[in-house]
Symmetry: none
Subunit: 218 residues, 4 copies
DNA sequence: AATGAATGAGAATTCATTCAT
DNA sequence: GATGAATGAATTCTCATTCAT
């Protein structure tokens, strides 16, 4: 008897409530860490009643999961746009990498607290969540590996162990992102940092000196 | 009264007790994570009474700290032996790096669970511990940076941003160690992994190709 | 406006709703017991909204009450038909008893779950309900006592304490009903059980033997 | 190091604590019923801390169980003394029954609240507890049945269905006990009630009349 | 010094009931 | 009238820490 209109209005309000709870949770988790965060703080942040929380999520664990899922979705949406055209030479490859990282960095900036939260607290939440997070990293590593193998096959990357190196790249990326966001790299701009990282990835620290460095000096 | 003898025996027993508690804590923390670990489990693992714990440590937090300190001490002892002779050319540098990482890897193997525990749980324990951990990483980065700057100054490393690159190296190292220990790199042997990492650090993945490219310069 | 017609239709629908809620409650209470039963389960069983429940009943307590009242009404309707003609000798008395119990048993069979629910959970609901239930038992005991006193007065029942014995009869009846329904009497048919109970009530277990024994004494 | 003396003192104090909690629970359960009883009330009644409760019992359910077990143990201890000598004729049988019931009644008097609690609330606690309680009743019924079958075999009890009749006896006993304790039998003394019950059990209400009636008919 | 029993503050969770739509 | 989302009071239970022995 309340029908259509009512139902839709309810569904909309429900959706908003859920989003509000997720936002509140992101804030509280980021502030206190997962383990110290209280459901009571999340609901008071979301201006909801204690019981309301449990209408939407089974427990603290589940909202953390939901937070992750919401985030991952948006990340892979971003990436999927990039996979379109593969680079054809080192120059294109490097330029594409810099551009990609810039975009990712910009995108990540808006999720900075959430991202650090997931990376930092995720492994301590739960066996299950740790696995989920690992899966996420593997996904990224697989992407990186695809690029790398293409480059090796195309002859403009060194014949290296793509499995290991792609993992190293992902690890480096997350590490540097954390360093940067925590202000642990005061001597560099973001722009510069990205360039440095890409150069390091392409050349190592010893790279050009051996050959080009020596040659260019002449 | 046999004060002197008795005193020493007591001190020795005290020391043993403390070690036993630390070992038990390492085990329990590694198994459950810091937050889920119970003092009651630590003491029962150490075959001590509940109250005994508090004779040796102020609280759960403090034993985690103590665990860390005991570990860090041993790590830097290891490193200090290595700082002795600086490499004189790229060959020496690379060889020294491989040798050093092998030694560290071997040493770390024995502390593998503890190390992963500290890296994983440390940042979630509390602000103070997170800072402590950061200090540890900075220390390692500083060591790496020293080497790197020496190499740059000596002309056998590329002129790069040593601050950023040394951080990247440390991050990569910890990341790869975790991947390796969690069996996430099934296609590589440890020996091979170390070589790959050093090559990647020296040459990047584009490295040798540049050489070949240099060949094109002819 | 079709006020009259509309009013009646509304009243009818209201009545149906209420019945549906009562039926749902009977089901849920029987399944979970009063204390573990949830209002939410009752309404979902009745395919009604949560709020609807409170339009018909003040609270969970009240619907239990209503359930009882609906039941008791029907029980006494049944009995009132029986009170008509009093037995004139032991044979009639016994025959009438067997017939009555058979009818009651048949009637009760359809309310078996509800009946067991009321007997089992009633005393734990609250003081007020416990009294109500006691009143019900007293009513039955009074009926039984009427019969018994008549029989004593008529000289075909032993001069016993009718107050106590009628209570004992009621207690025995409810007990045996529960045993039977719970399958705790696997060796007897219902028909046989009724006969046994009536014989036990008329003769005790020692009954006829006394007679024979008396004969032996001679 | 605290050794023997300390251990024994601790064990004794532990035992006392547990007893105190059981006593408190019996009181609170009897007052409020199982479902309305709060752990917090039990501990405050026992003058213990909230946490102390959980050192001794998993939850409210478990202490109810423990209460039951403590009670049942004492009941069967009582009964076992009685099984010694079986009666040889009706007179002995009746006299033994009256004596037994008197003793049981006296014994039960001291556990009156607990007994009523278990009988009333038991079936609503839990499937598992309901079964346990049923087992208890079955145990009593089995005892009664043993006596009855002996009497039948010995020829001083009527050839009746011992399974059904023994159940009826147990049911009657519990029912009458409750009636008596709740003051629902104001017109009878306990002494008289017992006699009446035994007479009813031996003779039914129609019993002697049949004999006498038969004689009068002549 | 060592022990482990006792404690209670604190957190999660449930569910009858209210209330806006 | 009907609905179901929202609510928060009420309860259970945990576990770090204290303390009597």
């Amino acid at each position: 008897m309340p029908t259509e209109f009512r139902k839709q209005a309810d569904a909309r309000r429900r959706e908003q409530r859920k989003e509000a709870l997720l936002d509140a949770a992101a804030l509280v988790f980021a502030r206190q860490g997962y383990h110290r965060a209280l459901v009571s703080e999340i609901v008071s942040q979301a201006e909801a009643g204690q019981g309301t929380f449990y209408r939407y999520f089974r427990d603290k664990r589940e909202i953390f999961d939901a937070l992750f899922d919401r985030f991952v979705e948006s990340v892979f949406a971003e990436f999927s746009e990039m996979t379109a055209n593969l680079p054809r030479d080192v120059g294109e490859y490097r330029a594409a990498s810099v551009a990609a990282i810039r975009r990712i960095a910009a995108r990540a900036e808006g999720n900075r607290d959430l991202l650090m939260l997931l990376v930092r607290e995720g492994p301590t939440v739960d066996e299950a969540f740790a696995r989920k997070l690992t899966g996420f990293y593997e996904g990224l590593a697989a992407l990186a590996r695809g690029y790398l193998e293409h480059a090796i096959a195309a002859g403009f990357a060194r014949r290296c162990n793509a499995e290991a190196v792609s993992q190293a790249l992902v690890g480096m990326a997350f590490w540097m992102a954390q360093q940067w966001w925590q202000g642990r790299l005061p001597g560099v701009t973001l722009e510069r940092l990205i360039e440095e990282m890409v150069d390091f990835a392409f050349l190592g620290f010893g790279g050009p000196v051996v050959v080009g460095g020596g040659g260019a000096d002449r």
